[in-house]
Symmetry: C2
Subunit: 180 residues, 2 copies
DNA sequence: AAAACCATGTAATTGGTTACATGATTGG
DNA sequence: CCAATCATGTAACCAATTACATGGTTTT
């Protein structure tokens, strides 16, 4: 079948050949607002994808650090990704623990909820700052790059959602204050 | 330990005693923008929660339709929920297939991406309409209710995020048009 | 009588997490 | 030399999904 993690891997390999370790980093640095991976998932999938002939890996010496297995796409792998990319996505099955706790907030002390909101707002502010940095570096690096449009608009989405969350936090804080 | 689904169940039972079937409906109607459940998950969890003494169920005749097992919270169940509510939430592990496809969009024909965006925008417009309806009914029903603040602000969040997504869609469409 | 809805359940499988284990290399 | 970083892997476990199975009740 091919799990979504498989597709994330194939997608990352369209950018450039990468090791599993680098894929994890790329997720954290560039996909974090809509994707994440763990090593315990990544490495077994890479093995599986190799068996299926969708990627191939070879050990390479690095400028610094130990050797790494650098994977690249096979033509089958590229075809598999393209096929997946034109299929409609499954409906998104959201599960937000944060919102679940918020929704049932009346069952908890108000100050616990308020503090959680403040923490959440701080986190969103950190994210905003990160997006600003990413935006600067991305615009230079990406000029004329094939992925330019999609990457910038992915970032833009992160920023718009981040703004919306911050606005929500501010509104909530105002209302919390009114309750007292 | 207690999965998040367990906590969702306990939370829903603070509103009123409910059957598994009604919990599913409640998720779809009221929690859909941050939570969902399937029967195949709900029923086994309800059994488990009963064994743990956190909920109790008894078969009841309904005004219409077949009998249903209506569950209610035990005092242990209520305590368990309150304990969970004051703990900080785990970090959210997002995985958006839609965004994964978008991010790697350069590997697919532009018109496929554009059409997917249009579909997505339509979906967001439907969601906007739904929120409007919910808002109207909620404001009347909820006046003075213990959950009023948290429910209205949960809805508000859904609306703000929905607005942000719609704005993103419009921006993307404009840029798509510029590319041609 | 059929379709739609109300209602509950289970078994097989999947997809992924967590924790553990190992070891090379680099910088302080 | 020690800590941090780079790098790969596996085994046990888990939560949840999917598909299947059943049957009562209401509406058309």
């Amino acid at each position: 079948m091919g799990s979504k993690t498989d597709m994330a891997i194939l997608g990352m390999l369209t950018i450039e050949p990468m090791s599993g370790y680098e894929m994890k980093q790329f997720c954290e640095e560039s996909l974090s607002h809509f994707w994440y991976e763990t090593f315990g998932n990544l490495y077994p999938r890479l093995k599986q994808l190799t068996d299926e002939g969708l990627v191939k890996g070879r050990s390479e010496k690095r400028e610094r650090g130990p050797d790494a297995i650098v994977y690249s796409l096979t033509s089958q792998g590229r075809a598999r990704l393209r096929k997946w990319l034109i299929e409609p996505p499954d409906s998104e099955n959201v599960r937000s623990e944060f919102m679940l706790k918020f929704f049932f907030g009346a069952q908890a002390p108000a100050d616990v909820n308020e503090q959680r909101l403040i923490d959440y707002e701080e986190e969103q502010k950190r994210i905003r700052k990160r997006y600003q940095l990413i935006e600067q570096t991305l615009r230079d690096v990406l000029d004329g790059h094939k992925d330019e449009f999609y990457w910038l608009m992915s970032l833009r989405r992160g920023q718009l959602l981040n703004e919306a969350r911050l606005r929500w936090c501010r509104e909530c804080r105002t209302k919390f204050a009114e309750l007292k």
